[in-house]
């Protein structure tokens, strides 16, 4: 996976690139809008991380605009100190696939990039399966090892999201945004409690746990217990 990082602050750029490289990406940093635009249009990238406040009073969104104008539709994650909700709406409307506010946790950035690069066209599947856990979308039924598990509607959606992103790290904010469709910072651990309740229903009575906590980042649903 190749990631272009357009970020003028050296230290932040290096921090992101190191993190990306450690996570298995090939990354390259670029510190201005002009080169950023040329590079972004070269179509060799799988994903772009784009800062908004670039040297020379350039707005990263202009680069994004140029990309979309030229028919380059690779995922773009806008990373910005401009955190106001209207700025975020502005960025998403300009064609950004995600918007993350600085200061950020690297885990959050990596998790979001991971979801962006692995995102395929939503395949209309009738059922999702991870190991012995089966989620039947058509019948709205969940079974594990053949045993029926009763879930509330939102728990069902939560599990569906985790299963669709099998083996990927999903953060708390991503879950709130995708499953509940709200964007704000809950003050308490409400997502953790939701996951813990889901765990009780999915994992407690079985020898193999499927929902794993990824320290400092979020959760991952998978058969293997990677770190």
């Amino acid at each position: 996976m190749r990631c272009l990082v357009i970020e003028d602050e050296q230290e932040t750029a290096r921090y992101i690139c190191d993190g990306l490289n450690a996570a298995g990406y090939e990354s390259m940093a670029c510190d201005n809008a002009l080169d950023g635009e040329t590079l972004a249009l070269s179509r060799v990238w799988d994903v772009v991380v784009l800062d908004r406040l670039l040297p020379g009073k350039q707005d990263g969104l202009d680069v994004l605009h140029a990309m979309r104008q030229s028919g380059v539709h690779i995922p773009v994650l806008v990373l910005s100190a401009l955190g106001r909700i209207d700025e975020r709406v502005h960025g998403l409307r300009a064609g950004a696939d995600d918007y993350l506010t600085k200061p950020f946790a690297l885990e959050e950035l990596l998790a979001r990039l991971d979801v962006l690069v692995r995102r395929q066209q939503p395949v209309p599947v009738a059922r999702l399966q991870v190991a012995d856990l089966i989620l039947d979308l058509a019948a709205q039924r969940v079974t594990r090892s053949g045993r029926l598990i009763t879930l509330q509607p939102r728990e069902f959606q939560l599990l569906e999201y985790l299963m669709r992103h099998e083996n990927q790290v999903v953060t708390r904010n991503m879950l709130l945004e995708s499953v509940w469709d709200y964007h704000f910072d809950p003050q308490t651990n409400v997502i953790d409690v939701q996951i813990s309740r889901l765990r009780n229903k999915i994992d407690r009575d079985f020898s193999v746990a499927l929902i794993h906590t990824v320290r400092g980042a979020g959760y991952r649903l998978s058969v293997e217990t990677l770190s």
Binding site: E11, T12, Y15, D18, G19, A22, A81, G83, R84, I85, D86, V89, T101, K102, P103, F104, A105, L106, Q152, R154, L176, W180, D181, Y182, H183, F184, D185, P186, Q187, T188, N189, V190, V193, Q194, S196, R197
Partner: protein, 453 residues
């Protein structure tokens, strides 16, 4: 105030007109009467001087001539009595008992007609008595004419006063209304609002003064906001950098020397957690500043509060369950307001956080949203201990925490955010203790169903 002022001035004008009318009326009539008095006195004196010394002179003939010369004959009155009281000449049937040396007004019968007249009496040397008089019908006519004219004039003047007062009142009120509307907008948080200055009159000058004052206030507010935002923003950025540096160091170190210097690692992890907490507080401060600046209002859309209540109840149901509590949404119908759904959800979430945190023995938390006239009420009711009355007005202040809850986690910004969000939506936040717990009510302006989303 304006109504009373206008009424007062209207009354003053009315009294002035009445006084002028009275002076004019009596002035005219009294002058006329004085003229008549002078005339009859002159005639009486002339007759008296002419005939006083000559008892047998032709006073009777003279009177007869005066009464038939067709010169004022229809208004002149004469009566001559002998010393023994017999009528010798004149046009009165009877002697008016009240006549004296000074002119008086009396009703007499002249040539069989009942008329009003001014009369004066003179006693001649030989005992004869002479009465000279002037009929007042002419004066009566003039009196009536003047009276009518004054009545009509007074009526027109009153009309002008009433209409003028109404127009004056309207104008003053319009000017004041303009200032009041602006003041209301400013009070509601729009500090950029200014009063339109129309003309150089007192109101124009007042508007100018107020505008100048507002410029200064806005300038100061901007300064304060700018400083606090700059602090939050400028501290947040280096904090973020420190955090990332620690994180990067931790990653590199973890890769190279796994298991070693565990103390440093633990310290770094704890430091990152603390920094994250600080960043969160700064984020919240910036969020409040952002919400208070009102920039979101451009992204407002039609939002169903009932939907938000159900969503938030669903989001928090696991947390409630873990505390053996229950969240119940009582409303079922859509309740529409214009707003930002994420911010409104944030407000509801903050209030649910509080209810779960502070009323954890309370069991049931009730949520409801409903239309109340021109308003929408969103209520969250818990069965906890409530808030001490003396703390109620202060709990929305940034960083304020009620004494007995200081041991609980939190930063004292939750209700500040709720309050800012409610204000931004043109509403008010009401907290009050009920017998069973705390009732938090968000009073928001309702949106009409016809408004486009």
């Amino acid at each position: 105030m304006v109504a009373r002022l206008v009424l007062g001035y209207g009354l003053l004008v009315g009294i002035s007109i009445a006084l002028i009318s009275l002076v004019f009326y009596f002035g005219t009539i009294v002058v006329l009467q004085n003229q008549i008095d002078a005339r009859i006195a002159k005639i009486a004196n002339r007759e008296w001087q002419t005939y006083d010394a000559r008892p047998n002179a032709d006073l009777v003939a003279e009177i007869g001539q005066q009464l038939t010369d067709n010169f004022n004959s229809d208004t002149e009155i004469y009566l001559l009595l002998s010393a023994s009281g017999q009528i010798l000449a004149g046009n009165l049937q009877r002697w008016p008992v009240f006549a004296g040396n000074r002119p008086v007004t009396a009703r007499v019968i002249r040539d069989g007609q009942n008329v009003t007249a001014r009369l004066v009496k003179r006693t001649l040397g030989d005992g004869r008595q002479l009465i000279v008089g002037w009929e007042l019908s002419e004066v009566d006519q003039i009196r009536q004419l003047v009276g009518n004219a004054l009545l009509l004039g007074g009526f027109l003047a009153a009309l002008v006063v009433i209409v003028g007062a109404a127009v004056f009142r309207r104008q003053v009120e319009n000017r004041i209304a303009e200032i009041r509307h602006a003041a209301q907008d400013i009070g509601a948080g729009d500090l950029s609002r200014r009063i339109r200055v129309a003309g150089q009159d007192e109101f124009g000058l007042l508007s100018l003064d107020i505008n100048r004052m507002l410029d200064q206030i806005e300038h100061l507010m901007d300064g304060v906001r700018h400083v606090s935002n700059a602090i939050a923003h400028d501290l947040r950025t280096p904090l973020g950098r420190v955090r990332n540096r620690l994180d990067a160091a931790l990653r590199t170190q973890g890769d190279q020397a796994r298991g070693e210097s565990l103390v440093v690692q633990t310290a770094a992890v704890a430091a990152i957690a603390d920094i994250d907490h600080l960043i969160l507080v700064f984020d919240r401060l910036l969020q409040i500043a952002e919400v208070e600046s009102g920039v979101h209002t451009q992204t407002f859309q039609r939002v169903d509060l009932d939907r938000i209540l159900h969503d938030m109840a669903e989001l928090y149901d696991a947390s409630a369950e873990a505390l053996a509590m229950r969240i119940e949404v009582e409303s079922v119908l859509p309740v529409l307001v214009r707003g930002d759904r994420n911010l409104l959800a944030n407000a509801v979430a903050s209030l649910l956080d509080n209810a779960l945190k502070y009323a954890s023995d309370g069991g049931l938390i009730r949520l409801r949203a409903f239309n109340q006239g021109e308003q929408v009420w969103l209520e969250i009711e818990d069965h906890g201990p409530g808030i001490p009355e003396e703390d109620l007005p202060k709990v929305t202040t940034r960083f304020y925490r009620v004494d007995r809850s200081r041991h609980l986690p939190g930063n004292g910004l939750g209700l500040s955010i709720v309050s800012a969000i409610v204000k931004m939506h043109g509403g008010t936040l009401i907290l009050h203790n009920t017998p069973s717990g705390l009732l938090v009510r968000l009073v928001l302006p309702a949106t009409s169903g016809a408004q486009p989303s």
